[in-house]
């Protein structure tokens, strides 16, 4: 039984790291209806900047972190302004393809600026696990869970209570109506990319610390799809719940099913789960249902 809980807890921890990446994805989709295929690359870029600041320029963490967050927010603004805004109103799939192009640019730019060689992000987080009731809790994963949790709570509060957050929700609901009541929709778009940049920065630091920073870091973006679909593409709590479920299922499946089928179940089991869930709830657990009228 300890083995099961080990797997389960480990899965939840990893799931919270997926959720962090998923969050940026969901924010952009919710506010701007853009499916961002470059979210993984955004995370990678965040990791690269962090590694560059900490390792190449040898800044202390207390200085590096604000610089990192600031530059990723700026990057989010720039991307929205320079690349996505000209595409406003174009058909969705062309916009998706623009983000695929964007991903290539990020890949090239990161390697061009800081080199393709793998870098390490030194964080003052100990490696030795805490052992509680025979369950091993790794400090990096705990940190990730805490960061995701804080982030999530902050944004739920932000969307519910703050003026800007309400404006963002209004825009997500109906852009035209939002404009009509005087909401600055452009500002909302820019802000959602900036927040996505912020989430990517944190994701980049934590994932980069776990697996090292090079352009392959962008692959964590792939893991996001089942999580966000499960939770619903446009739901912030959905991103968290989806991430946690996917993480836990992967982990437990890898521990119990892998030995019998020759491995790799965690690669496709989340997707099977996702399809089944979609057959029952086509818009995910928390996604907004679109009622169609002709």
């Amino acid at each position: 039984m300890a083995f099961f809980f080990d797997l389960f807890v480990n899965g939840l921890m990893i799931g919270s790291m997926y959720a962090l990446v998923a969050l940026g994805f969901v924010l952009i989709y919710k506010a701007t209806s853009v499916v961002n295929f470059a979210q993984g690359e955004l995370v990678m870029f965040g990791g690269y900047i962090a590694a560059a600041l900490l390792v190449l320029y040898k800044l202390p963490l207390a200085v590096a972190l604000p610089v990192l967050l600031g530059s990723m927010i700026a990057l989010g603004f720039i991307v929205e302004r320079g690349v996505l805004r000209p595409m406003v109103g174009q058909n969705v799939i062309s916009v998706v393809m623009v983000t695929v192009g964007l991903a290539q640019v990020f890949q090239g730019a990161a390697a061009l600026l800081w080199g393709a060689q793998t870098k390490n992000i030194p964080l003052p987080i100990p490696l030795e696990p805490y052992v509680i009731w025979e369950i091993y809790l790794s400090p990096v994963n705990i940190a990730a869970a805490v960061v995701s949790g804080v982030f999530m709570v902050t944004f739920v509060w932000f969307f519910r209570k703050s003026r800007m957050g309400i404006a963002m929700r209004a825009t997500a609901n109906d852009q035209q109506a939002a404009m009509a009541v005087g909401i600055n929709v452009r500002m909302v778009f820019a802000l959602s990319w900036a927040i996505a940049g912020l989430a990517a920065a944190l994701g980049g630091v934590l994932w980069g610390n776990l697996i090292g920073v090079d352009t392959q870091l962008a692959l964590v973006g792939l893991k996001v799809f089942p999580a966000v679909i499960l939770g619903g593409l446009d739901s912030v709590p959905g991103a968290l719940v989806g991430g946690l479920i996917i993480g836990a299922v992967e982990s437990v499946a890898a521990g119990y099913v892998d030995p019998y089928v020759g491995g790799g179940t965690k690669d496709f089991l989340p997707y099977v789960l996702m399809i089944l869930a979609l057959m029952v709830r086509p818009y995910g657990f928390f996604g907004r249902e679109i009622i169609e009228r002709v």
Binding site: I93, M97, G115, I229, L233, G262, G264, F268, M279
Partner: protein
């Protein structure tokens, strides 16, 4: 193709609905085919390999466009359906000894079945949710092929096939491979052109434009969505099978998610809902990285840089330019290269008397 409509009047419905209603269009299409057939006389073997790769990509892209562009069902699993075709062709060739011209439809048929199966979720879910559901198809098919030694031929998941032959003619160099690929590509192109203007094609378009309305006017959505998946996967399977005979090997690593995404890129940049656009897109995405190699490295050499000294810089620069061009093309013309081609054609239609 370039043509002018001046002075052509149709007096029958058949004439009006013909694939190429204008005599000039017919001649220019014929001319293109003749040029394609004579291409090996002027190109060297390296250029022929480029031509082959573009034709192979075109077949797959046309198939995907039938599904995404005409029926409106976004798919991220195209690579996996190509994989199914590829392994089917390899297996029927190696185990049953079938020649390649039977292996091709076999690959297509099996892929069509698998494609229709993975199209079932499309009845319930739509749009981006469907795109991600087909992404699941990509991973599931990959996993199954990878973990079934009966299909994949052992831990390496690769199957070598013998040199394909046609009437005792060994297809073992780029010129001969061209004549294996070209007819298939032409048939695929013509078939798609005819499909999309037939009853079935119109049903596809109706489903894409407004599925509820289509259902009300009597289009069986269930039937046509699955049919679109099957047809598209048939094309993918053919392309995968042809790829197997072209390389003489089946290996699933040639058909990963990246392949699916790049096919999607082809049809979006080429133009959704256009058969010719798919070909444009296939040519663009296949050729652009290779042309960039010559342009960027040639350019650097022009300024006196040694390749070895700045190879990394150039490689990453190319990647940035590649991504940048995709963004730029879509920003200029979100409807793709086919639309650009249309603009050019429209300009020349009244030329030199345009006003």
């Amino acid at each position: 193709m370039i043509n002018r409509e001046c002075g052509v009047y149709q007096t029958t419905y058949e004439g009006d609905m013909a694939l190429y209603p204008l005599p000039l269009a017919r001649y220019s299409t014929l001319a293109v085919v003749v040029v394609l057939a004579l291409l090996p006389l002027v190109l060297d073997s390296h250029m022929m390999s480029l031509a082959n790769l573009m034709l192979l990509a075109s077949i797959g892209a046309i198939g995907l466009n039938i599904l995404v562009g005409y029926t409106g069902q976004v798919s991220l699993g195209h690579g996996a359906f190509m994989m199914v075709g590829s392994y089917t062709a390899a297996l029927v060739t190696v185990r049953l000894g079938l020649p390649f011209w039977l292996g091709l439809p076999a690959g297509g048929a099996v892929a069509a079945l698998v494609g229709a199966f993975f199209g079932i979720p499309s009845l319930r879910i739509k749009g981006l949710y469907l795109a991600i559901a087909t992404l699941a198809g990509q991973f599931i098919i990959e996993w199954v092929i990878n973990h079934s030694p009966w299909i994949s031929g052992g831990v390496q998941s690769t199957i070598y096939v013998p040199t394909p032959t046609f009437l005792g003619w060994n297809i073992n160099n780029e010129y001969r491979r061209y004549f294996m690929v070209l007819p298939v590509a032409i048939v695929a192109y013509v078939a798609a052109m005819n499909l999309v203007r037939s009853r079935v094609g119109r049903a596809f378009i109706a489903v894409r434009d407004r599925d509820v309305a289509a259902e009300i006017i009597g289009v069986d959505i269930f039937h046509y969505k699955l049919l679109a998946f099957a047809v598209s996967s048939f094309y993918a399977g053919m392309a995968g099978a042809l790829w197997t005979y072209y390389l003489k090997i089946a290996n699933y690593e040639h058909f990963t998610l990246a392949t699916s995404v790049s096919y999607l890129a082809m049809i979006i940049i080429g133009g959704l809902g256009s058969v010719l656009g798919s070909v444009f897109g296939a040519v663009f995405i296949t050729l652009l990285p290779i042309v960039l190699v010559y342009v960027v490295e040639g350019g650097a050499a022009l300024f006196g840089f040694k390749y070895a000294a700045i190879a990394d810089f150039l490689a990453n620069l190319r990647l940035i330019i590649f991504g940048g061009l995709i963004i730029l093309f879509l920003a200029i013309e979100p409807e793709g290269l086919f639309r650009m081609w249309g603009n050019v054609k429209r300009y020349f239609r009244l030329w030199p008397y345009s006003y």
